[in-house]
């Protein structure tokens, strides 16, 4: 059942016709030709399709396009404004934080969002170190650079089969520091 929706993708407005079944991921890849977000599992189990959806990272494979009419989407391609790579992108290259590159756009979108989340004080499962949950009372920013386990936990929704994880940590720490 076709329906017309509007999406803003990487700063450009689009009107497009989608099937109600079309996910945001397939709308981007198969309708709009934006193949920056990748399809790895199509079930929210790998993170390769991660985009910024209205400012927050999300698995685009599980979001129906029709339910996100009017959404503002940023992909890894859109993070590089005017051809200038985002600092996270430069850091991933410098630290060789990827190999095949297929999970990479999702990793980078996720990492960029994560730095922002930590700065606004969002906790993670490892923020709670004290075995009575009282860490939660500290709602201040989380220092990612000083705490690689925070990065590891917060990046665990993005699988990397080439296993560049150990290189992602310093890549992200460097950006988090600056």
């Amino acid at each position: 059942m076709d329906t017309e929706i509007a999406l803003r993708v990487d700063g450009a407005d689009h009107r497009l016709t989608v099937d109600t079944r079309t996910t945001l991921l397939d709308a981007l890849r198969e309708r709009l030709g934006n193949t920056s977000p990748k399809k790895g599992c199509d079930h929210g189990q790998c993170g390769a399709c991660t985009i910024l959806l209205d400012g927050r990272r999300a698995n685009s494979c599980l979001a129906l396009a029709v339910a996100h009419d009017g959404a503002d989407i940023v992909t890894a391609a859109g993070l590089a404004a005017d051809g200038q790579l985002h600092p996270m992108q430069r850091s991933f290259i410098e630290h060789d934080a990827f190999q095949c590159g297929y999970c990479t756009p999702g990793q980078i979108v996720s990492a960029v969002a994560m730095v922002e989340e930590a700065a606004t004080g969002w906790p993670s499962a490892v923020t709670y170190r004290h075995p009575d949950g009282t860490d939660g009372t500290d709602t201040g920013p989380v220092d990612l650079a000083a705490n690689p386990d925070e990065i590891r936990e917060r990046m665990s929704g993005n699988l990397c089969r080439c296993a560049a994880y150990a290189n992602m940590i310093p890549a992200i720490q460097e950006v988090a520091r600056s």
């Binding site: 059942m1 329906t3 099937d19 109600t20 079944r21 996910t23 199509d42 079930h43 929210g44 993170g47 991660t50 959806l53 927050r56 990272r57 999300a58 698995n59 599980l62 979001a63 129906l64 029709v66 339910a67 996720s110 969002a113 994560m114 989340e117 606004t120 004080g121 969002w122 906790p123 993670s124 499962a125 923020t127 709670y128 004290h130 075995p131 009575d132 949950g133 009282t134 860490d135 939660g136 009372t137 709602t139 590891r152 936990e153 917060r154 665990s156 929704g157 993005n158 699988l159």
Partner: protein, 329 residues
Amino acid sequence: MRPFRYERATDAANAVALLARAPQAAFLGGGTNLVDLMKLDVARPELLVDVRRVTPRTIEQLPDGGVRIGAGVTNSDLAADPLIRRRYPVVAQAVLNGASTQLRNLATVGGNLLQRTRCLYFQDITTACNKREPGTGCSAIEGHNRDLAILGTSPDCIATNPSDLAVALAAMDATVQTIGPDGSRAIPLTELHRLPGSEPQHDNVLTHGELIMAVVLPPLPFATRSYYRKIRDRASYAFALVSVAAAIDLVDGQVRDVRIALGGVAPKPWRATRAEDLLRGGPVDEERLRRAAEAELADARPQADNAFKIPLARNAIVRTVLDLVEAAP
């Protein structure tokens, strides 16, 4: 995925009315489980009613000291909320131990509570499953059941409830507020989900068209110190083998109140009332904890692959509560 119609509800009553008219309709929240199941052809709605704009997205303090969480609040917002973090840390931790940030950003509180089992056979339409297709048999009982339930099972189904949040809410005696074709009601969280019995197709007590609007946490001062311990096959981004939500109220070394709920072991969040009863009114030490945990697990009926969950759950209960006690200021 089968074709379906999509409608955006204008308000809660409209959402309920839309569903009530369509027996094959479903509410759409964040979609992280429903869309997944639709792709697998497990869920086959002919109409999706989007309720994200009609379920409350606020977290508010109540006059009695409790907190009301709107059903449309995302899992991320729930976990980051200062009130929740300070007053009910076990709730924030449970959420943060589930899924990934990008899923929690989409998933709603209401949807989280209604997510369906991740039993592999339930998710595979080429195999028999009583929950998916009543009467076809349970593939898991004689099959791969490492992840499945040891408590509250039936000869027809051994599925586990996958929600972490529900485990913490069960421990906190939360209540679910719904609106449905027959009006509004409040359901204790521990009574929202049902055991499979001979009708495993019914995960919960909600009627068709009944929409969760909010979850209410009652005041529980001692929950400011509470913990969620999740044991799983990966360090992150995996469902629980066993999880424990715990809070304890100690007065002069005696247990005045204690809350223990288990995840990963039963078709519903498993409130460990038997263990709680044994612990109340006495001192807390490893031996008493162990006996209480063993009493809770005494009725466990393990399958071929998951007998380890009995000692694992026992040890996890003992360790989680002991850590809480030993961390006391």
